[in-house]
């Protein structure tokens, strides 16, 4: 909403307050003023000129040489506008003038002819092209004959004005009218307001006698007022009216249309003007459209209507889409003499639906959508009739043609001052409350200690006691509210065990050298299930904005790989990233997908890189595995953790494993398949993804101290030769199983394949630690346990002992 302070001054006295201060007060009281637009843009030396003579430039077809009376002298100005002509009153920027955009006007010579200034278009005075009346859109603006040469053109054009740009919240549709703004500003400044005085002379002929009215869809159109004005002379509007409209962001057309737009802005009530003769039937019927019915609207587009759209018809065919746009067939034109003024209440939902379906949003539809003031429907029609009599020479027929079943009862709200003060934590007196409501012109009575309020129909946002609390608080001032803290039972607050463990996981991974990434949940169909630990039906958007972001992900890996590629492409060759986030497995019975929190990581490039010391190590499977083991250890889940060689699509067939917790699959670890790596411009890249939710929900033993050993432990080393395909994990499991209670630890310390070892075999060496917390072990006991281990290795894995 653009509010011209010049126009606002017609209703409320704002002469004694600086515009910046006014804007600040309005903002603090609840309507945000986004900007203050100075329409003068600091222009000076812009005056009215009279074109006494105008001839073609001998050297240039498109230029005219004009002799212009600018009051104190007559001076020569070269003008390039096609519409300049002798006898016009025009806007002249004199030498020394500075136009918007820091455009300085100087004396100049154009093709050998002197030019002392410039004849201006409205665009050159910073009026947007779309607001300039069509007749002057391609050339200079022509002032009315009454303009006096030499007089300052800015006030004449209403450019000595400051416009407040409101950012209105949806509840304050009352401020979508100048009168609504006047009520608000009046309340803020504790001033009364002056409403427009509406009076005109009616002709003897009655509107009812020339126009019939019927509404067939009363629930969508509970009130319709039509007035008829005869002998209208369609012409350009007076300058003040055009100025007001342009300041409000509306393009002037002709006096009849401009009047409907002016009243729309003044009252917030959209009006429509029909050419009575073009209606042809002397009848208006409001009804729902027939399915597929067509109408060509004012913008010359043919619209196909649906059965629920509301239309205004002449009893036969549509002449307007109700509340949205008029029809071309009944448009007011230069030759129009009789005008029908329509002022109606159209149901917000109906207008919203129709304007959305037709893709047509207008000043009218936005107001209907929010619900116009029922009291102003008739008032606005009267105001328009008055202006048509005054400005277009019309004769207003007596009375109106009306259908009215609209409920105009004000909402009654009862609220006690105690409730208001308790809710705010304040102590405002009853007198102060009454005074605020009085400033807002909200009729209130104090009845047995309570405020009984009849909310005015212009304030549709006032319905419940909280709305009144807000009115009082915002005008009393939010700065006056004290600062307290909630009293009552105190609560410990804190993280749940799950949330605390999630923080531990993050801290571990970051301590291990990984940065936390944050990627999008929406992805492409192609990537939705790639690397997913578990797949389920994909959750798809109804109206995606792009294929890339059309479904919800089931794995975090693809976007992490994307992040790795992004960094590598920017010469950050070593990337270590992790992410915790949800994957979406749907659809469950209640229609929502199952959301499972996962943790995933990606490593590529170097893991160790100490250049001057010559230490460098690429990331590999075991770096990632160490990270997984450490992470699981940090949340007490190392014991049940195991890894099982696996073949997974998109992964290196020999360097991939499933991660298991207590025998249950919880994750994936390994190298991306070289083909996939190449596709993504990555070198050797490792990933892991784990169902974090499952891990964090697995019970953990409490941390309990075990005594620091008082007795020595004994170590024995074993070197074995086994078949290449026998995994270290298998051997370790055999050792653990056979070692019994005394075996405390098994550690692999050597792995060798190659020369000196038979083809198809490999050599491994383990260090075994035996220990009893209660006493020192004897050699015999250790030998006994160790022999068992050796036997099991030979029997179960065909291991051959070395050395």
């Amino acid at each position: 909403m653009l509010v011209s302070t010049k126009w606002l001054g017609d209703y409320v006295n704002i002469k004694n307050i600086a515009v910046e201060e006014l804007a600040e007060k309005i903002t603090r009281a609840g309507i945000e003023v986004d900007a203050i637009i100075d329409r003068s843009h600091g222009m000076t030396n812009v005056v009215v000129g009279y074109v006494k003579e105008c001839v073609k430039h001998p050297e240039a077809d498109k230029l005219s040489i004009c002799q212009v009376d600018v009051g104190e002298e007559t001076t020569q100005i070269i003008c390039g506008a096609p519409n300049v002509a002798e006898g016009q009153k025009v806007i002249v920027a004199r030498p020394g003038a500075v136009l918007p955009g820091n455009f300085k006007i100087k004396k100049a010579k154009l093709r050998g002819e002197e030019s002392n200034g410039m004849i201006c278009s409205l665009q050159e005075l910073a009026i947007e092209g779309k607001l300039v009346p069509k007749a002057y859109a391609e050339g200079i603006y022509v002032l009315p004959d009454s303009a006096i040469p030499g007089e300052d053109a800015l006030p004449l054009l209403g450019l000595d004005d400051q416009v407040l740009e409101f950012d209105l919240t949806p509840n304050r549709s009352d401020a979508l009218s100048m009168l609504g703004v006047a009520y608000e500003v009046g309340a803020i400044l504790s001033q009364g307001i002056v409403l427009p005085e509406v009076s005109y002379t009616e002709s003897a002929e009655r509107a009812e006698d020339v126009l019939k009215l019927r509404v067939d869809a009363i629930e969508d159109n509970p009130m319709y007022v039509a007035k008829v004005v005869k002998n209208v002379k369609v012409a350009e509007s007076p300058l003040w009216l055009q100025n007001y409209l342009m300041a409000a962001g509306v393009r002037p057309h002709n006096n009849v249309v401009d009047i409907t737009n002016f009243v729309l802005m003044e009252y917030g009530q959209p009006l429509h003007a029909f050419d009575y003769d073009r209606l042809e039937t002397e009848e208006i019927v409001v009804r729902r459209a027939e399915e597929g019915e067509k109408i060509t609207t004012l913008d010359e587009a043919e619209r196909t209507l649906k059965g629920h759209n509301l239309v205004i018809t002449n009893g036969q065919e549509p002449v307007a889409v109700a509340g949205v746009m008029g029809g071309l067939n009944s448009e007011v034109h230069d030759g129009t003499t009789t005008v029908v003024i329509e002022s109606a209440y159209f149901a917000p939902a109906s207008v919203r639906q129709t304007s959305k379906e037709l893709g047509l949003r207008s000043d009218a539809s936005t107001r209907f959508e929010k619900g116009v003031d029922p009291e102003r429907v008739a008032q606005a029609a009267e105001r328009a009739a008055q202006l048509m009599a005054e400005l277009a020479g019309g004769e207003v027929l007596a009375g109106s043609v009306v259908i009215d079943e609209l409920d105009k009862t004000p909402a009654r709200i009862t609220v006690s001052p105690d409730t208001i003060n308790n809710r705010l934590g304040m102590k405002i007196s009853l007198e102060d409350m009454l005074s605020i409501l009085d400033r807002l012109q909200i009729p209130t009575e104090a009845v047995s200690g309570k405020l009984v309020i009849d909310a005015p129909t212009r304030r549709q946002d006032l319905r419940i006691e909280e709305d009144i609390i807000e009115e009082i608080a915002r005008l009393y001032g939010y700065d006056e509210i004290p600062m307290t803290l909630p009293v009552g039972e105190s609560t410990p607050g804190g993280l749940t065990p799950y949330q605390a463990k999630r923080r531990t996981v993050r801290a571990f991974l970051e301590g291990a050298g990984l940065y936390q990434a944050l990627t999008y949940s929406l992805t492409s169909k192609e990537h939705a299930q790639q690397y997913a630990l578990e797949t389920a039906p994909v959750t798809e958007l109804l109206m995606p904005m792009s294929e890339e972001r059309s479904v919800l992900r089931q794995s975090l890996i693809p976007h992490l790989l994307e992040a790795a590629t992004y960094n590598v492409a920017r010469r950050i060759e070593s990337v270590a990233l992790y992410e915790t986030g949800s994957v979406f497995l749907g659809l469950e019975e209640d229609g929502l997908p199952k959301e499972v929190e996962h943790v995933a990581a990606v490593l590529t490039g170097k893991w160790v890189d100490h250049a001057w010391q010559g230490e460098s190590k690429k990331v590999d499977f075991f770096v990632m595995k160490g990270i997984v083991e450490g992470m699981m250890d940090s949340i007490g889940q190392l014991d049940g953790l195991s890894f099982e060689q696996a073949v997974v699509e998109g992964m290196h067939p020999g360097r991939t494993a499933k991660i298991l917790l207590n025998g249950e699959e919880i994750g994936l670890i390994g190298q991306i398949h070289p083909t996939e790596q190449k596709k993504r411009d990555l070198k050797e890249t490792y990933i892991m993804e784990i169902n974090l939710q499952k891990v964090l929900q697995t019970e953990v033993d409490e941390v309990l101290y075990t005594q620091v050993p008082r007795f020595p432990s004994m170590s024995r080393d074993i070197a074995l030769v086994v078949a290449s395909e026998t995994s270290a994990g298998t051997l370790q499991a055999i050792i653990r199983n056979a070692g019994g209670k005394l075996l405390k630890d098994v550690r692999l310390f050597d792995l060798y394949e190659g020369a000196n070892v038979e083809e198809g075999k490999k050599s491994l060496a383990f260090s075994l630690t035996y220990f009893d917390p209660e006493r020192t072990l004897t050699d015999e006991e250790v030998v006994k346990a160790h022999d068992k281990v050796l036997k099991a290795l030979t029997d179960e894995a065909g291991a051959v002992l070395r050395g």
Binding site: A29, G30, T169, R172, R352, N422, L424, G425, I469, E470, A473, Y478, I481, P482, M483, T484, L485, P486, G488, E489, T491, G493, G494, L495, Q499, R506, E510, A512, G513, L514, Y515, Q516, A517, L518, T519, Y520, S521, L522, E540, L541, L542, M543, M545, L552, A563, Y566, N567, I572, V575, L577, Y578, G581, D590, G591, L592, P593, E595, H610, W612, Q613
Partner: protein, 345 residues
């Protein structure tokens, strides 16, 4: 004999002085003080001397031996020290060479902001509530006083999965779910999480972003409690001398609704480019929980009141750290994330 002895002494002392390392010195020791050395020989030859000369000569031999021994030990100590110093000199390093870096990562800046906010409210007795990112229309809109057909819930603005299911557009549905689950009991929660809106990604918009909201419900919760809580929060998050101001606003789920500004932390209120010359920065939206919202969740709005607030960690991070483009938070450029590794306190 005396002359012989003194000659021997001078000779030994000269060799001690000439020894340039411990090995040579040891050779000198063996040569003069050893069992086969000249001094021992002299002592052995004492028997041949007349008895009256023996004590005198004996004393002289001992003096010589002591002198040689002392000199030898001193020289030995000196040579040992010299050897150590030479060794240490060889071990010297260039201390200006770079240290061995300790590999660490760090929180994403948004997590950093979210955890800072969480920790403040935890210290005030709040719990953290979480909920699904794919929500029912009911919890995302209806339960928050946004009935079907309400203009603020345009299909164009939300990612719908079906008529009744969508990606949540705010974390408020977690509040609705918590209220429903608490069954009339008092509530003090913070709800952080990812939310989604149907926006094209640009410098100031992101189709996915984060939100953190708070909700307090109980008997006699007042707007002054909201103001006091937010003021403490502003001081914790943006500096002890921050002031706040509330401006009336509108949200369907609160009434009255306000927006909170803080005094600019960059210029202190004088006006700068961060606060767009106003001295104030808009930080969050808040209000008293709308009675319809309480009623729908099963609370008696005549007995129980509440306040709620919500903010965007992206906006806070952008203001706090001076990040100019919201897309930085989602491109995962290591050069961006790694800048948020150190503490500020």
């Amino acid at each position: 004999m005396e002359t012989q002895l003194n000659q021997l002494k001078d000779e030994a002392l000269a060799k001690i002085e000439a020894a340039s390392n411990t090995k040579e010195l040891n050779e000198v020791r063996v040569a003069y003080l050893g069992k086969k050395g000249p001094i021992t020989d002299l002592l052995k030859g004492m028997g041949k001397l007349p008895a009256e000369e023996r004590p005198k000569m004996g004393a002289l031999v001992n003096v010589i031996r002591e002198t040689v021994t002392t000199q030898l030990e001193e020289r030995m100590a000196h040579l040992e020290e010299q050897a150590i110093n030479e060794q240490l000199a060889k071990e010297a390093i260039d201390v200006t060479l770079p240290g061995r870096p300790v590999r660490t990562g760090n929180h994403h800046p948004l997590t950093r902001v979210v955890e800072e906010i969480e920790d403040f409210f935890i210290s005030m007795g709040y719990e953290i509530a979480e909920g699904p990112e794919v929500e029912k229309d009911y919890y995302n809109f209806e339960a928050l006083n946004l009935p079907k057909g309400h203009p603020a819930r345009d299909m164009q603005d939300s990612f719908y999965i079906s008529e009744e299911i969508l990606l949540r557009t705010h974390t408020s549905p977690v509040q609705a779910r918590t209220m429903e689950a608490k069954d009339g009991a008092a509530i003090k929660i913070i709800c952080p999480g990812k939310v989604y809106r149907r926006d094209s990604d640009d410098a100031t918009h992101s189709h996915q972003f984060t939100q953190i909201e708070g909700l307090v419900v109980g008997e006699n919760i007042r707007m002054s409690d909201l103001k006091g809580t937010l003021s403490l929060f502003a001081k914790k998050m943006f500096g002890a001398d921050r002031e706040i101001r509330l401006r009336p606003s509108f949200f369907p789920f609160t009434e009255p609704s306000v927006e909170m500004d803080i005094s600019c932390f960059k210029c202190g209120g004088d006006g700068c480019n961060v606060c767009k010359k106003t001295g104030w920065i808009e930080i969050l939206g808040a209000g008293m929980v709308h009675p319809n919202v309480l009623e729908m969740a099963g609370y008696d709005s005549s007995a129980v009141t509440g306040f709620a607030f919500g903010m965007g960690p992206e906006r806070i991070a952008m203001l706090k750290y001076g990040v100019e483009d919201i897309r930085h938070f989602y491109t995962n450029d290591v050069r961006f994330i790694s800048q948020f590794h150190r503490t500020e306190a």
